[in-house]
């Protein structure tokens, strides 16, 4: 499935909620279900500090695909991380770099990506793209 399709399916999932709190209830659920993050990857270099919540992001290149794992101390942040990983993990660097993230806007949660909210997510996405760029170079040099 291409990344746009996953995003569309997320948007559909969120369409059932009229109430803000219900949306967040669901995000919290996603946050609680996020695949555990390997404690050994909770390094300082993997830390992305927002003023409000902290985010750890790890990336590995396995068979041409980037595997992202991530964690946060705030559950709402974790919930959104879960969505981002669903969309961007296990993809080629090329796919990642070409993905435009529109789903948060469509489900009315754009504010979570506002640079002014300082939850670390904007930096996290930037960082994901940076990883993709770095891995792309590696992949291309191998050819």
């Amino acid at each position: 499935m291409i990344t746009a399709e996953i995003q569309n399916s997320i948007v559909e999932e969120f369409e059932v909620f009229d109430e803000w709190l219900d949306k967040y209830e669901y995000i919290i659920e996603l946050g609680n279900e996020l695949k555990p993050y390997d404690e050994k990857h909770k390094t300082k270099s993997n830390l992305i500090s927002g003023c409000q919540s902290r985010v750890w992001l790890n990336a590995e290149l396995i068979e041409g695909k980037v595997i992202f794992t991530a964690d946060s101390d705030a559950i709402i942040t974790k919930g959104i991380i879960a969505l981002l990983i669903k969309i961007l993990s296990e993809r080629t660097p090329y796919e990642i770099l070409n993905t435009e993230l529109f789903f948060l806007d469509k489900i009315g949660l754009k504010e979570n990506l506002s640079p002014t909210r300082a939850n670390g997510l904007v930096s996290m996405i930037k960082q994901m793209k940076n990883y993709a760029l770095a891995f792309k170079t590696i992949v291309e040099n191998k050819k």
């Binding site: 709190l21 967040y24 919290i28 409000q52 902290r54 705030a74």
Partner: protein, 405 residues
């Protein structure tokens, strides 16, 4: 007695709906909302007498200058300064502290001198001193607080010595609402010849201020936290001290005469007001103080204390909610953590219920570190808040707990 309905009508923003819910604004420590009396006075000023001050021979300029100086006079009375020349208009608290750090620093701080700062201060009352100490090779020392967030007097006294040149303490801590014993702190510092700067950013709006009674050497606050516009602030300094200090910024209006050979600086207060002052901001401060005086500082303090006590009681009943600081010695602010719930999560959910509180470190990271936390949830009050709003907050917190447990 406060007529809360009348007051709430004065503040148009209080009727705002966010996410379809009635706004409950409990982030007054960050900035205050403005009454119509301030908003429309400013619009009126721009529509009738706006003109640069101190500069022209023409009518508008003269009118605008008059209002500007009236504001200075009003601030003087409001804080009970000896003379209006002791009232300097700045951009805000941060600007005022930086002014002192530079100018007092240039004149009075040299290598090896010591500056004492309470460990729970706002960054604006730490970083300028750090920068000064770095420039002058002086030493910045923190005054410790106890588990109640109160300054430990014996420790403070031990830190004082003839090396101490300046002590900087908030009258009320923005992180926890703690009312520090500023009078005692000042008295003790003066025994060693040290000067004291009181950061009034979180007190000026809650109870009446008397800088002569306090006997502080500097007192600073921001207009935007006391119902005036953003971009205006005040530095009070004792006249004999300010006159010895060199200017901070250079430019128009702070000089008597300029030549490439020799420039002569103006007298107080102009010496410290380089460039076009925010005279409209100053005017808004005049109007804001007039508004407060109309309601009555005493009435405001009483009502806000009642609100705060109510909130303390109510919030204390929530399991897992831990208030940091001593409710009895507290003003305007309640800062707390929720067991196993991240402040950011709590803030996000409260926001969706229309409740605006502040979460995080409150620009006081060393304060958080002192209590081994990453941040708190902070609610901060104004006299336009109500007990009903505190009930909404209370229910909101219960909802938060339910969602994360």
């Amino acid at each position: 007695m406060i007529d809360i309905n009348k007051i709430r009508n004065d503040f148009p923003i209080l009727n705002t709906k966010v996410y379809g819910r009635q706004l409950v604004y409990l982030d007054n420590g960050a900035t205050s909302q403005k009454p119509l009396q301030v908003i429309s006075s400013v619009a009126e000023f721009y529509s009738t007498i706006n003109s640069n001050i101190h500069r022209g021979v023409h009518y508008l300029s003269s009118k605008a200058t008059e209002e500007y100086e009236k504001s200075r006079e009003k601030v003087k009375t409001f804080i009970n300064a000896k003379s209006s020349a002791e009232v300097i208009f700045t951009k805000g608290t941060t600007d005022s502290i930086n002014l002192v750090a530079f100018s007092f620093g240039e004149k009075f701080i040299s290598e090896g001198d010591e500056i004492l700062v309470c460990e729970t201060e706002h960054h604006s009352n730490i970083v300028p001193w750090q920068m000064l100490c770095e420039r002058k090779r002086a030493k910045l020392i923190k005054i410790p607080v106890d588990n109640n967030t109160e300054i430990i007097m014996e420790e403070y006294e031990k830190l004082l010595s003839s090396k101490t040149k300046l002590v900087a303490v908030a009258q009320v801590s923005n992180a926890f609402g703690t009312i520090h014993s500023t009078e005692k702190i000042i008295e003790k510092a003066h025994k060693f010849g040290a000067k004291v700067l009181i950061d009034g950013a979180q007190s000026i709006q809650h109870f009446s201020t008397d800088v002569q009674k306090l006997d502080c050497d500097f007192y600073v606050f921001s207009g935007h936290k006391i119902y005036a516009e953003t971009g205006i602030g005040v530095l009070f300094g004792k006249g004999e001290l300010l006159s010895q200090m060199p200017p901070y910024q250079g430019g128009g209006d702070m000089i008597n005469s300029v030549s490439f050979e020799k420039t002569e600086y103006a007298e107080l207060p102009l010496k410290f007001e380089a460039g076009t002052s925010n005279y409209v901001g100053a005017y808004s401060l005049l109007k804001a103080i007039e508004y407060l005086e109309n309601i009555g500082l005493k009435e405001i303090a009483e009502y806000e204390t009642e609100l705060k006590n109510y909130a303390f009681e109510k919030l204390s009943t929530i399991p897992g909610l831990e208030i940091i600081g001593n409710p009895k010695n507290n003003s305007g602010v309640i800062s707390f953590t929720l067991k196993d719930i991240h402040f950011y999560d709590a803030g996000m959910i409260l926001d969706k219920m229309g409740i605006a509180v502040r979460t995080g470190t409150h620009c006081a990271e060393p304060a958080m570190k002192r209590f081994n936390i990453l941040g708190t949830i902070r609610v901060s009050f104004s006299f336009y808040n109500t007990k009903e709003e505190i009930d909404i907050l209370y229910n909101g917190l219960l909802k938060v707990k339910q969602m994360f447990e």
